[in-house]
Amino acid sequence: MGPDFVAFETHPSGRPHRTVGVETNQRRSSPPHGTRPADDGSPDLSELLGRVARGDRDAFAQVYERLSGPVYGLALRVVRDPAQAEEIAQDVLVEIWRKASHYRPDRGSAISWALTVAHRRAVDRVRSAQADRDREQRATAPAPDYDQVAEEAGTRLEHQQVRRCLRGLTERQRESITLAYYGGYTYREVAELLGIGLTAVKTRMRDGLIRLRDCLGVQP
């Protein structure tokens, strides 16, 4: 605490002293889901990627355990075809091995970096495929029944929380976000599908994500 703050500290107040630094520390103390070390003391994903970048295959096996479910599931959600989803997941996981040295912790969480690679790969696949006619159906089709696929409890919780927060959006916001993210549409295509203007669709995506971010308690 520098001398600049002394003047404030001399004024009694019931509220905790809030500064930018304190807020930043609070953010850092709660890393985004999927990156925090497990209870058994295993290293976090960011650290594992650092080891993978130096050619550590054991570290990569641990990265595989953490990422294969989200990468495969996301690909499946976008392309809706198990064989293609598996192919994409394989490409993406090998890509993570190959490009682990490109991960920059100051640019976001490791899980976000990895799943961005996965999402872009899946989206490229559906955009290049002549599957346009099916995409809207895919995006709006009900999600798989998670009670039937004995998934880990963590995934079920995550799924429920995201579903609850999606319900808190306006219908237009929810449609715009799910068509884009799970359907792989560009915002121009979403605007066309929903019969709304480009500015409106951009605004709905941004406002919807902001609302979702706040509902999920995501910290940048």
Partner: protein, 237 residues
């Protein structure tokens, strides 16, 4: 057509841009801390949509992937690009920050291009423009109260700063936000802000040798000295 990058943060985070649009947006990010922070938060949010879709892959995938990496050479780390001279870099980042702020100030109603100085100047109050384009202008943006953003562009040479606030909490009646110049001497008032939490750009003078800019909550009309802890502080260049 409007290229206002601020409105594209959501579409970008959802990978809903074409390749060209994505690259254009990514070129904009380094000069715009506000957009970079927002984009990062929205990207992490999109990641939650991905995690919610997690499914156990077929067991055979593991063997194939672990076999393939033994045959796959790893890419070397990317090396930093050759940087322009420090002087040029400072000028560029100042211009980019100013352009970014201008975009924020105009609320996206006007498409302002980074290189369109004339358009930018017209879109702004002249005095604000003078501060933003001062040779020693320095921009800082910080976040507080969750989603609030405060940007200060200060110029020691002009002894003034331009302040914008967005999404600070709306204050109850009889309260206002007050700005302060802090350190090395006692806090000096830099004027009050809209108690609704979002204000048009404000010009404030008397920067002097202050080291930090701060905002407190005070009774309407302001106080001669801060009566509570700062809502936020921003170190000055």
């Amino acid at each position: 057509m409007s290229h206002d990058p601020h409105h594209l943060a959501g579409a970008y985070a959802l990978d809903a841009l074409t390749g060209t649009e994505r690259r254009r947006f990514e070129r904009h990010l380094p000069g715009c801390p506000t957009c970079a922070d927002e984009t990062s938060g929205l990207r992490e949010t999109a990641t939650r949509l991905a995690l919610a879709a997690a499914r156990r892959p077929p067991d055979a995938l593991r063997d194939r992937v672990l076999a393939e990496i033994t045959r796959t050479r790893q890419a070397p780390p990317p090396l930093p690009r050759r940087l322009p001279s420090p002087r040029a870099a400072r000028g560029l980042s100042r211009l980019a920050a100013a352009a970014c702020l201008v975009l924020a100030l105009t609320g996206g109603g006007i498409a302002v291009h980074l290189h369109d100085r004339a358009g930018r100047a017209q879109a702004l109050d002249r005095q604000v423009g003078v501060v933003l384009t001062a040779p020693d202008a320095h921009a800082s943006t910080i976040h507080a109260q969750g989603t609030a953003t405060v940007t200060v562009v200060s110029s020691r040479a002009l002894n003034r700063a331009v302040v914008t606030t967005a999404r600070l909490r709306r204050l109850p009646a009889a309260k206002t936000y007050q700005m302060w110049w802090l350190g090395p001497a006692a806090p000096r008032s830099a004027g009050t802000l809209d108690p609704r939490g979002t204000s048009k750009p404000v010009i404030t003078t008397g920067l002097g040798d202050a080291r930090t800019f701060g905002i407190t909550i005070e009774p309407t009309g302001g106080s001669p000295a801060p009566t509570g802890p700062p809502v936020l502080t921003i170190p000055l260049a």
